[in-house]
Symmetry: C2
Subunit: 349 residues, 2 copies
């Protein structure tokens, strides 16, 4: 139980989810929406997934200041002092640095999981088993674990990690040889058949000392800025001054070159729900391939996905392979083949 | 000016407009909706069209009791005692009889126009000219005038009147030889080329004595029931007991066989807006043939018609020849070729 009290969960919840407009808007983005129609938002599902791995008061949320009220409302169990309000979006590296420095100030022996707020996991029990394994590993080493999802298809929308074939003795954890950007379809197919490539889920496990020394080593300026910020509390000035950079570029790649990065291959039904196609995959379909959340009726429709959040009633006739999305009286109808245009529709309005 | 004070306008507003669901619902049907997006509902446009033909207090509205509050709100200039609340729908004959008996009680010398509430007229000035002609005719004769619209296409959705070629001396008014039901397309084409067939717009002109004696002659039971109802005020019992029958069957056809029915051919841009196709005709289209009322944006769409009443925003992509209709958070998307199914969608919900 000693280790349990040192476990901390950092949930990154600053995204604006523009690919799901108008279901997700900059005012109320995807992570705060019950996108699966299960009665809980994605961030609530994320918190639930970690329950039992640490005390309730060891959850930390980093989000844009615009979403603070939504976080407080949706996650009343998270201490208010653990809700970190970014005055500006600086990508994941400054976000994670802030949370980890703040945790370290409270608990220098902290052992930390960092996770996105908007992915889903179909098997939370297996998820907890993997996270527990990873935490046990980082409790005893100054290494970094990234959870690697065993790929089920040649996905071109995710980054990959390449792992070495041999696990660390007595564990399921493998050294990572390389990080790979989102591949072409051909390359993704090669990854899939090679067998040692995993999807990079953006779920990282490390102890506080490791991540702090990693920042100090690989991004000393961010380390200085965040240390000063946490010491002085001057978030409004110092946070926006940080370099806008992802944790992958800032820490994971240089750390992997030093042999510090490991992965725990996992298979717990993960999806980042980054687009309508991945949501469609997760939802139940009727006999004509239509998936829906909300009060929807289909007549002569096929392979449609509908998410109506606030509509009283949606009746669809004669649609084949369309997305229909609604929230707060904003409606989108779009061919599923054209979903990459959605960002553009919303920015044009 | 003597005749002006005896002119009365009866607007029939009891329809439920199920073909425009969900824009039009039994709770708030078509005639009360700003279906053209011009800032006025169809019934408000109807009243405006007649303004100047009679004193404001000579308007009469017959509607279902469910719509009384809407009528009062939309037409504050109509005296409350002239808003007749039908406790049940009995088609047009009892509705018209009630209004005409009530008018006759106030003004036995009344000269009356009866009109639907949900048609539109693009040239109201010409409309008033025609109505004035018809009123002048019925002021001096115990005949009935039905306004006949010169057909612009072989429409199969309307009934027709056949007129004799010779106008009554000094007028534009012709005797009607026959009423014709909605024709087949072949027959409609024959009517169009024959030249003496007009659309029956359901706009009737007669003096109070003529319509009362016509009911007494052709539908004596309705005449007795309505006379008793107007005398006693017992609407709730007596109105629903009336035969459910249209004015065409009850009065116009038998009257035309007696040579009492005349028509004034007219061309004032009339449409009954009975379906989406007729609404589409009336609305302005963009360069891709899309017509819209409301905050709508089109991307790669063609020949669509959209009416969004309460939605904040509607974005459509990749739709060809569709109807999109919204009111109060109820949405319908339907192929234009399938609009006859809409009634069924709404009744199934």
């Amino acid at each position: 139980m000693q280790s349990y009290t040192h476990h901390h969960i950092v949930i990154m919840a600053g995204g604006i989810g523009s690919r799901f407009w108008p279901l997700s808007t900059p005012e109320y983005p995807k992570q705060f929406i019950d996108i699966l129609g299960c009665g809980k938002s994605l961030i609530q599902l994320t918190v639930d997934r970690f329950r039992g791995l640490c005390p309730d008061e060891n959850f930390w949320i980093v989000t844009n200041q615009a979403y603070i009220d939504i976080v407080k409302q949706q996650l009343p169990s998270v201490p208010e002092s653990h809700i970190l309000a970014e005055p500006a979006a600086r990508n994941t590296a400054p976000c994670i640095a802030w949370a980890c420095w703040a945790i370290s100030q409270e608990d220098p022996d902290a052992n930390i999981v960092v996770t996105p707020s908007d992915a889903i996991v179909m098997n939370p029990e297996e998820f907890r088993r993997v996270a527990t394994n990873a935490l046990a590993f980082t409790a005893q080493s100054s290494n970094i674990v990234t959870i690697g999802i065993r790929p089920s298809r040649p996905e071109i929308g995710y980054g990959y990690v390449a792992m070495l074939p041999e696990a660390v003795a007595g564990t399921e954890i493998h050294p990572v040889s390389q990080f790979k950007e989102k591949p072409s379809l051909d390359v993704a197919r090669q990854y899939l058949s090679a067998g040692n490539y995993l999807w990079n889920a953006g779920i990282f496990v490390w102890n506080a000392r490791t991540i702090i020394s990693s920042f100090q080593q690989f991004k000393p300026q961010i380390a200085r800025q965040i240390a000063e910020m946490v010491a002085t509390g001057d978030t409004l000035t110092l946070f926006p001054a940080c370099e806008k950079i992802s944790i992958d570029y800032a820490v994971m790649e240089p750390a992997s070159q030093k042999g510090m990065v490991f992965t725990h291959p996992a298979d717990f039904g993960w999806s980042d729900l980054g687009n309508w196609a991945s949501l469609y995959d997760k939802l139940e379909k009727d006999s004509h391939g239509n998936a829906s959340v909300g009060p929807v009726r289909f007549f002569d429709c096929q392979d449609c996905i509908v998410h109506a959040e606030d509509a009283q009633q949606v009746v669809l006739q004669g649609l084949n392979n369309y997305i229909v999305s609604e929230k707060g009286g904003r409606f989108l109808i779009c061919q599923r083949t054209e979903e990459q245009q959605i960002k553009q529709f919303s920015s044009n309005i």
